[in-house]
């Protein structure tokens, strides 16, 4: 363990329980003594500080509109970091200091101040000051780095102070609260004059718990059992059952995958291998870790430094390091890869936006650029071994300390920064990491119970998943620009309990879901709505729309179609050939994330995702209305619950989808829908396609088609008589997109039929082509059901235009394109592409025979299936109260 030399928390490593007491009692010791003599300080204060303020601050301090040359002279850290020209003051060496050269107006350097040279006495003072070693108390008197605005937020901002224990408020005479957590929350609510909502009914709680803990809807039977369970601990039993179910790990692994910007691909690569074929091993490790309730400190340490904590052969545990290694590859730009790793670690675990300090000191938080490069060195001292049996791991490599990249430019480096932890947390004189790359030391510093952020950040994430909003609204930014938690006592209480109870995530979740705060109703209607319309204080539960995973998994589950297999390589879940697996097993291509993921606000897999956006757009509705997935699930569901009796079917559907029985009005509505649907299906309507593909013969006397039968077999490209061709009955007869082949005899002509579904006027264009010297060619005719034969052409080894002008059609009229053999039935393959175009009620439309060609059409959805789909679309199914 590294020792956290944080002065305000100046005490040594002790057992967790005692430590927490200590946290409460330890006085906040103030400030280290300065390293300079009083004389030196006096010199600075009397001569140097006034001169800097008078002559330099206008361009080189926080009061400058734009800091010139990236150089700041309003703090010691500022000039120590240097500017675009690099180091400007070398303590003790005026002749080596660019600053002195500049104020001397030396040729060849930028002269400062640019317009007028400083009085000679002032220049001499500066020279003397640098010779003294540039004593500058402006930061030396502060234990913590200031932010870029010069404020000492390290000792004032709530998130950087240790969690506080507040005595549990006594709440005499009220029965709402059942846990200490409730009393903290209620105390705040009372202070606001807000009444909490009533406890929700059992069926609501059941749906809520299933959604939150396992991400799947409960069955009707399970709800009935729970609602009828008289045991005093029925709710606790349910909570425990869900926490122990294997689906718990799936649900919560997916939450962490958002934090870890998980994907199955590297991002853009030109020609190299794009897939991370082993990414799923990290996902499976997460599922296992949550199911086993791996303590969160161990959980984090393994993800950052499993190579130092488990055997080199323990591939299963080493997969934890996918947290670091599964990011985007930025065309293998190492700086960007490391930046991504710093970001996922610091925002993911501590809600600190350290990446902001890549090019300059953090503008708001006390995170100097040097801290960024201290961590940069940790990752630059680690590498991914090739051909390892554990493909996702990092191991320590040649140790390097990296110089600050001035303005983020790797070509312009300052002095090397030793690898160490963040000065905000470890103090300004943090001990450099000594153990290899320092990754393990970094991980230990993150999970050190003295770290004021790590436990709070996790508690806030868990709260956010359980309530739909965090106590802190920016789950990955606890910096000074974040809003303070609306319920700070609750956050600190949970964070302290969490650490005390061995970082158990399951126990944390149990503690929250057993509370009255969690079990509240979600109604907005109370007077509290006026005081706290956004529900920042949690006077009710938030109603939540199912996220992408819960939505898709829920549909599969209620349809009875969900494949509950746990773990394994990622599978395709989009398009026609989707696997009916839980959504977290879907293959995630971060480069070209399929539209469905984006449409449903999936976490962008490029960078760490603090929380999901929530948008409502018609593309979501289109997916649920028209996608093969939605229709197939409705079909499975409808067919599964269907009975000869409509009312029984409707009851079954409601129970399957919504977990309840319909009331009388709902039965009546659904019954009316089925009656109307059947009546509609009995009437003629617009066909799915105007084209049919068949055969038959021409009745010369009646000037029309004598018979028409659709071809019975589809081989993937063509309609024909049977699987094998020639077919015993229909011979070589076939139709394909661009043409076909007739059969033998007068009733075996190949017929491509178009049917008009509204009245209008059409023209037909096209060409019949036979390209074979042998045989005697074919005969093509266009026959209208209303007007008889419209054209008659014979072709042999040539192309013939087949045009028909201005023809009136009525609904149901057919136009047949009939090809038969002439004397010889050999070599009769032909091409015949036609366009039928015309105006229908003022709208111009064209049907092209080649584009309109198709195989068997999917069957129409039956009335019960359509009803099932409506229930799957309903707000009741898609929202959780």
């Amino acid at each position: 363990m590294i020792s956290m030399r944080h002065l305000r928390w100046g005490f040594c490593q002790i057992a967790v329980g005692a430590l927490l007491t200590c946290l409460l009692l330890a006085p906040l010791t103030k400030a280290a003594p300065t390293d300079f003599s009083q004389e030196e300080i006096d010199f600075f204060e009397s001569k140097i500080r006034p001169a800097l303020i008078k002559h330099c601050y206008v361009c080189h301090s926080s009061r400058a509109d734009e800091i010139q040359g990236e150089l700041r002279l309003d703090s010691q850290a500022g000039w120590q970091a240097g500017g675009v020209s690099g180091t400007v003051i070398v303590p003790g060496r005026p002749e080596k200091s660019l600053f002195i050269a500049a104020i001397r107006h030396t040729a060849g350097v930028a002269n400062m101040p640019p317009k007028q040279k400083l009085p000679a006495a002032v220049v001499e003072d500066f020279e003397a000051w640098v010779r003294l070693g540039a004593p500058d108390p402006r930061t030396a008197s502060t234990a913590h780095p200031n932010n870029d605005l010069g404020e000492d937020v390290a000792s004032t901002h709530w998130a950087f102070q240790p969690p506080q224990v507040t005595p549990v408020p006594s709440m005499p005479g009220q029965t709402w609260s059942t846990t200490d957590l409730d009393r903290y929350v209620l105390s705040r609510l009372e202070g606001k004059g807000v009444q909490p909502a009533e406890i929700a009914d059992r069926a609501t709680l059941m749906r809520r718990l299933y959604f939150d803990l396992v991400g799947l809807p409960p069955t009707f039977e399970a709800i009935q059992d729970f609602v009828g369970n008289d045991a005093p601990d029925a709710y606790l039993q349910l909570v425990n059952t869900l926490l122990e179910s294997p689906q718990f790990g799936e649900r919560w692994a997916r939450h962490w995958m958002d934090v870890a910007r998980f994907a199955d691909t590297r991002g853009y690569v030109f020609t190299a291998e794009r897939k991370y074929t082993d990414a799923f091993k990290y996902r499976d490790w997460l599922i296992q870790a949550f199911n086993a309730d791996l303590p969160y400190d161990r959980f984090l340490k393994l993800q950052m430094a499993a190579d130092r904590l488990v055997e080199a052969t323990d591939a299963e545990q080493l997969a934890a390091m996918g947290f670091l290694t599964l990011g985007r590859r930025f065309l293998n730009n190492m700086h960007d890869i490391i930046d991504d790793r710093i970001d996922v670690v610091t925002r993911g675990t501590m809600a600190l936006t350290v990446s902001c300090s890549r090019c300059h000191d953090h503008k708001y938080d006390p995170i100097p650029t040097a801290d960024y490069y201290a961590l940069y060195g940790v990752f630059a001292s680690s590498h991914e071994p090739n051909n390892a049996p554990a493909p996702l791991r990092l191991v320590d490599a040649q140790v390097v300390n990296v110089g600050v990249f001035v303005r983020g430019n790797p070509g312009n480096r300052g002095a090397a920064v030793p690898r160490r932890f963040l000065s905000l947390l470890a103090g300004p004189k943090a001990t450099p990491f000594r153990d290899g790359s320092g990754r393990l030391e970094m991980a230990e510093a993150i999970v050190n119970p003295q770290n004021p952020l790590t436990a709070r950040v996790l508690v806030n994430r868990v709260w956010g998943h359980l309530f739909g909003a965090g106590l802190v609204t920016t789950p990955s930014d606890f910096g000074v620009r974040s809003d303070a938690p609306a319920q700070p006592e609750a956050l600190d209480y949970l964070a302290l309990q969490f650490v005390q109870e061995g970082w158990s995530v399951k126990q944390l979740i149990r503690r929250i879901v057993l509370s009255s705060v969690y079990r509240q109703r979600s109604d907005e209607g109370s007077p509290a709505q006026q005081i706290d319309p956004e529900n920042r204080f949690f006077w009710r539960m938030n109603r939540r729309r199912k996220d992408f995973e819960a939505m898709r998994d829920g549909i599969l589950a209620v349809a009875g179609n969900l494949d509950k297999t746990i773990g394994g390589p990622s599978v395709n879940i989009v398009g026609k050939d989707y696997a009916p697996r839980r959504t977290l097993y879907g293959f995630i291509d971060r480069q070209n994330l399929p539209g469905i993921f984006r449409t449903f606000d999936f976490a962008g897999p490029d960078t760490h995702a603090p929380k999901r956006h929530e948008t409502t757009v018609p593309q979501q509705a289109l997916f649920l209305l028209n996608s093969p997935f939605a229709m197939q699930q409705a079909e499975v569901l409808g067919n599964r619950v269907k009975t000869p009796d409509d009312m029984t079917t409707i009851d079954n559907l409601y129970r399957a989808v919504l977990g309840r029985s319909p009331d009388a009005a709902e039965r009546q509505l659904a019954g009316a829908f089925l009656d109307k649907a059947r009546a509609r299906d009995a009437r003629p309507s617009i066909p799915q396609s105007p084209w049919k593909f068949g055969y038959g013969g021409l009745n010369e006397e009646e000037n029309g088609i004598r018979e028409f039968a659709e071809l019975p077999y589809w081989n993937g490209e063509a309609w024909q008589g049977g699987e094998k061709i020639p077919d015993p009955k229909l011979g070589w007869l076939n139709l394909r997109a661009a043409g076909g082949h007739p059969g033998a005899g007068p009733t075996r002509a190949a017929i491509r039929r178009w049917t008009a579904y509204c009245e209008g006027e059409i023209v037909i264009q096209g060409a019949l082509v036979h390209s074979e010297k042998r045989g005697d060619g074919v005969r093509g005719r266009i026959v209208s059901s209303r007007h008889g034969v419209l054209g008659d052409w014979s072709v042999h080894d040539r192309r013939q235009v087949t045009a028909v002008t201005r023809l009136r059609v009525e609904v149901g009229d057919t136009i047949d394109f009939v090809v038969d053999s002439r004397a010889s039935t050999d070599y009769d393959s032909h091409l015949w592409k036609v366009d039928i175009s015309g105006h229908f009620h003022g709208v111009r439309r064209t049907w092209n025979s080649q584009k309109g060609f198709h195989g068997p059409l999917p069957p129409q959805l039956q009335p019960v299936v359509r009803l099932a789909q409506v229930l799957l679309l309903s707000n009741e199914f898609q929202f959780v109260d």
């Binding site: 984006r598 409502t616 757009v617 309903s874």
Partner: protein
């Protein structure tokens, strides 16, 4: 949570009402209006509802014709008589460093001519487009950072060469919403698949996914292949209408117990929108509905079709449209430049001219910003043979980020203007240099945004399209 730093109010009460009427949602909208504050509804129901930018915009729509691969400026819109003199000879300047070694000057094989009252010089490759010289604002002093496709594409499209950032179209739709809720707000058409760097070119980055460009492969013409889930082969429109009627009734009953939740109402409305979108999208992409003279105006082929679609989309209120020339990097003429550029320009010149003429005639050019360009230009010097990199024909040009041309038309830009200049040979932008960030700042300005105030809070920072760069080039604005 969106940290909108601009006015999220509706464009005005009348347009809000109008929208509610147009959306014709029956009970849903009516009940909504009475129960909720207007802004709450706007936020929750319509991430793409029309929004007001910082100041009155000159342009409302953008059509970005992207000649991916890098069209040669010295062969199209930046005539260089000095280069002609140095054809086959070393330039009297050092060749700038580009992706691959280049050699002697390569004179343009194409003839330039003056067009319009402004007398702008354009090569024969774009002789039809050039008829609209007086509408065009040709920026001849563009420059980017590196001579490689991937970073330059990202820079041009997202304002950042490597890291994950929202694309220009995503920023625009985030800031402005869109005028037609029945169509995607940002459409990227690219026939045959993806360009290099793929869908990152129209990414939403850290903005909500709804602002990502919708990729449409215009190689296809069937609507179901153009837009996902837009058509249902297994229920008829009437059958689906019955389903939605029942859904509306069930949702209304559900909503009675939860009357003030804007999210429920939002979802109810989304189905009404989706129902109409199926029809409207199919119509918008179906160019066969155009009269023959319009089809003739644009000409034949995929480029003509997709450029005509772009006009149909603008007409319907789509905010941002990219028209990519094709999958991969078609304009990347490392060899056989003359042949390839002639072929490629031949595919789109007539259609681009038709677009400008058509927009003008319909009164849409004033409010539509048309932008033409690639991710960079090409060297005035000939690319030298390099195994594996080219075919060694010594008749093509390398990538050139030091200087290139982008032109704008319509949307409040100064027509008939050639702005800035490259050196005598077209190697480097010398006069009035315009960086890609400056182009973005100017685009945002034309759309009504101060690029320094148009920000999104993410990961502790207020991000801008132009990051810490960019200046509005006022001379380009009419």
């Amino acid at each position: 949570m969106s940290q909108l730093t601009l006015n999220t109010q509706w464009a005005g009460t009348s347009s809000r009402r109008e929208w509610l009427c147009r959306s014709g949602a029956g009970f849903g909208s009516m009940a909504l209006q009475t129960m909720l504050g207007d802004e709450v509804v706007a936020e929750a129901t319509q991430p793409l509802a029309p929004k007001q930018p910082h100041f009155v915009p000159q342009a409302k729509h953008v059509i970005h014709i992207f000649l991916n691969g890098g069209p040669s400026h010295v062969d199209t819109f930046d005539p260089k008589p000095e280069l002609t003199k140095y054809g086959g000879r070393p330039l009297p300047m050092a060749n700038l460093r580009t992706e691959r070694p280049t050699g002697v000057g390569l004179a343009s094989p194409f003839k330039f001519k003056r067009y319009g009252e402004s007398g702008l010089e354009v090569s024969e490759l774009f002789s039809k487009t050039a008829k609209f010289a007086d509408e065009m604002c040709i920026i001849r002093s563009m420059h980017a950072d590196v001579p490689n496709h991937e970073p330059s594409l990202l820079l041009m499209n997202c304002g950042e060469a490597r890291l994950v950032r929202p694309s220009v179209g995503a920023w625009m739709t985030y800031g402005l919403g869109t005028e037609n809720q029945n169509l995607p707000a940002f459409i990227a058409m690219c026939p045959g698949g993806y360009p290099i760097q793929e869908s990152q070119n129209w990414q939403a980055g850290f903005l909500p996914g709804v602002y990502q460009g919708t990729h449409v492969d215009t190689q296809h013409t069937e609507i179901e292949k153009l837009i996902e889930n837009i058509r249902n082969q297994r229920v008829t429109t009437a059958q689906q209408g019955d389903q939605l009627e029942l859904l509306r009734e069930l949702n209304r009953r559900h909503q009675e117990q939860r009357p003030t939740d804007a999210k429920l109402e939002a979802r109810i409305q989304s189905f009404e929108l989706a129902f109409r979108m199926q029809r409207e999208a199919a119509e918008a992409f179906d160019v066969s509905r155009e009269p023959q003279y319009t089809l003739d105006l644009y000409g034949a082929g995929t480029q003509a079709r997709q450029i005509l679609i772009a006009r149909r989309l603008v007409e319907r209120g789509v905010r941002y449209i990219q028209v990519w020339h094709g999958a991969g990097q078609p304009w990347d003429s490392h060899d056989d430049l003359e042949k390839n550029h002639r072929r490629l320009a031949g595919q789109c010149d007539q259609a681009i001219a038709a677009l400008l003429s058509d927009l003008k005639q319909r009164g849409l050019l004033d409010e539509t910003l048309v932008m033409w360009g690639g991710e960079f230009g090409r060297t005035p010097t000939v690319e030298l043979p390099k195994k594996g990199a080219n075919q060694g024909r010594i008749n093509g040009r390398d990538h050139n980020n030091h200087g290139f041309t982008v032109w704008l038309a319509g949307g409040g830009v100064q027509g008939g203007l050639a702005y800035g200049a490259t050196d005598d040979f077209g190697f480097r932008a010398e006069e009035n240099r315009v960086h890609v960030h400056d182009l973005h700042a100017t685009l945002l300005h034309l759309m009504g945004f101060d690029h320094e105030r148009f920000t999104y809070r993410y990961a502790g920072r207020d991000f801008r399209l132009t990051d810490v760069h960019g200046r509005v080039v006022r001379d380009l604005i009419a």
